[in-house]
Point group: C2
C-alpha cells in the first residue's frame, strides 16, 4: 500500500479540512501543492487527478476522488481506527452530519466564499473586486453564522448538534469560518462577536485539534497580515491624496 | 411506526427527487405541500420541522431531517429492501456518488437554479428578473452540462459513473436538469442538443423510474406551458407596440 497522495493548497478551506483530518488521525500522506494563485489547478497533469480542476483531490493507491466532504467520508470509512465521533455509524447521527455538510454548500459557503472572493482575493485569481456582490454575500454570511449559533450549536456539548467530540462537519465548517480571517482582524471579530457560541465552538475545534489545526492555518494568518498591511498602505495613500487636494 | 411525513413542493427539484425515490421504492408516505409561492416555508409551524425554512424536509416518527441529499442517504440506509444500486455499500462506489452529489451543490445547481430563478421564476418569489445574473448562470450551467457529458457519463452503462442502474445521484441531478423545462422547449432543447449523452441519460432515468418520474414532473410541464404562453403573449404585445409606433 502506497501513501495517500493529497493534492491541496492550504489557502483553500476544504483543502485544509482534509489535511487536518489526516494529520489528526495519523493518516500517512504525501502533500502535493497545487498552487491556485499560479493556476496549477488548470494544468493537464492535475486534470488527470481531478477533471473538475479543483482542490482538494486525492489519489489513494489509484483511486481518484475529489470534493472535500466526499473525501472526508471516504477516509473515515476506509482507514483503520478512525474514532466514531468523526462520522457516527448511528444512522440518525450520521444523517445530521450529512445534513450539516449539505448546508455548508447551500448555506454557509455561498456567503463566506462570496465575501472573501469579492472583497479580498479576487485580484489574486485574476478577477476584479465587486463591492455589491461582497455586500450581498455578507448579508448571506451573517444569516448563516446566525444559523450555526441558533440551529446547529444546541445542547450541552461544545460541538455541532451538541456533540462532545468534533465530527467532519465541525472541521469542515470551522475551516470555512477561519477563511474569514482574510477580511482582517476587526471584521473577523465583528462577525464573530455577535455569535458568542460560534466563537467558543471555533476555539474548541482549534484546541481539540491542536497542534494540527493551528499549524495548517499558519498560511491564513500570514496572508491575513499581508492583506491587512496592504489595506493600511492603501488607506494611507488615499489619505495622502486627499490632503494634497 | 407511523408513515413518513414528507414536506415538499413539487415545483422544487430536490422535493421531487425525494418524492420520486420514495414512490419508486414503495415507501409509504404522507405528502404535505409547503407552497413556496405562497411563502408557506416561512411559517412558524414549518420552522418546527425545518428551521432553515427550505423544502424538502421530513418527519420520520419524530426524527426531523432536511437537505435532500442527506434525506436520500438516510432513507436508503434505514428503510428495508432498498436495492444497493441506489447508494452502493462498496466504499469506492459510494464515495463517487457522494462526490457527484457534492458537485451537484458546488457545480450544476449554481448555474441551473441561477438561470431559472433570474430568467423565469423570480417574480413568483417576489424578486426582479436579472438578465446579467441569468447570463452568468447560463455560462456556468453550460460548463456543468458539459461536465456531466464528459466526466460523469463514462463507461458502458446508461447512468452516472457508467452504472447499469440509477443511483440517488442520477435522480438528484436529473430532477435538477428537468427544472430547465421552465426555460421553454426551444431553450431546453438547445441546452441538451449539444450534450447527446445527457439527453439519453435523462430519457433513461425517466424510463427506468416510470411512471413516478413523469407523474411527479407533471407540475413542471404544466408550469412550463404556462410560462411559454406568457412569453408568447408578451412577445405579441411587444410586436403590437412596435407596429403602432
Amino acid at each position: 500500500m502506497g501513501k495517500l497522495r493529497l493534492f491541496v493548497d492550504r489557502m483553500s478551506q476544504p483543502s485544509r479540512a482534509v489535511l487536518i483530518f489526516c494529520l489528526a488521525n495519523g493518516i500517512d500522506l504525501e502533500e502535493h501543492l497545487v498552487n491556485l494563485a499560479k493556476g496549477e489547478h488548470r494544468k493537464a497533469e492535475f486534470k488527470l487527478i481531478n477533471p473538475m480542476c479543483q482542490v482538494p483531490a486525492m489519489d489513494d493507491n489509484g483511486f481518484h476522488l475529489f470534493e472535500s466532504h466526499a473525501m472526508l467520508k471516504y477516509l473515515v470509512c476506509t482507514y483503520p481506527n478512525i474514532k466514531d465521533h468523526w462520522y457516527p455509524a448511528d444512522l440518525r447521527k450520521r444523517a445530521q452530519i450529512d445534513c450539516i455538510l449539505d448546508w455548508h454548500h447551500s448555506g454557509l459557503r455561498r456567503g463566506s466564499a462570496g465575501l472573501v472572493m469579492n472583497s479580498v482575493i479576487a485580484p489574486v485569481m485574476g478577477r476584479k473586486l465587486d463591492p455589491q456582490a461582497a455586500a450581498e454575500a455578507e448579508a448571506l454570511l451573517k444569516a448563516s453564522l446566525g444559523k450555526i449559533e441558533t440551529v446547529w450549536l444546541t445542547g450541552n456539548g461544545k460541538f455541532l448538534t451538541g456533540s462532545l467530540q468534533p465530527s467532519i462537519a465541525d472541521l469542515s465548517l470551522a475551516c470555512e469560518v477561519m477563511q474569514l480571517q482574510l477580511l482582517g482582524k476587526a471584521k473577523f471579530s465583528d462577525l464573530l462577536d455577535s455569535n458568542p457560541k460560534v466563537k467558543n465552538w471555533l476555539a474548541a475545534v482549534e484546541r481539540t485539534l491542536s497542534p494540527h489545526f493551528s499549524q495548517v492555518h499558519d498560511i491564513i494568518w500570514k496572508a491575513a497580515t499581508m492583506y491587512e498591511n496592504k489595506r493600511e498602505r492603501e488607506a494611507r495613500k488615499a489619505d495622502g491624496t486627499i490632503s494634497k487636494l
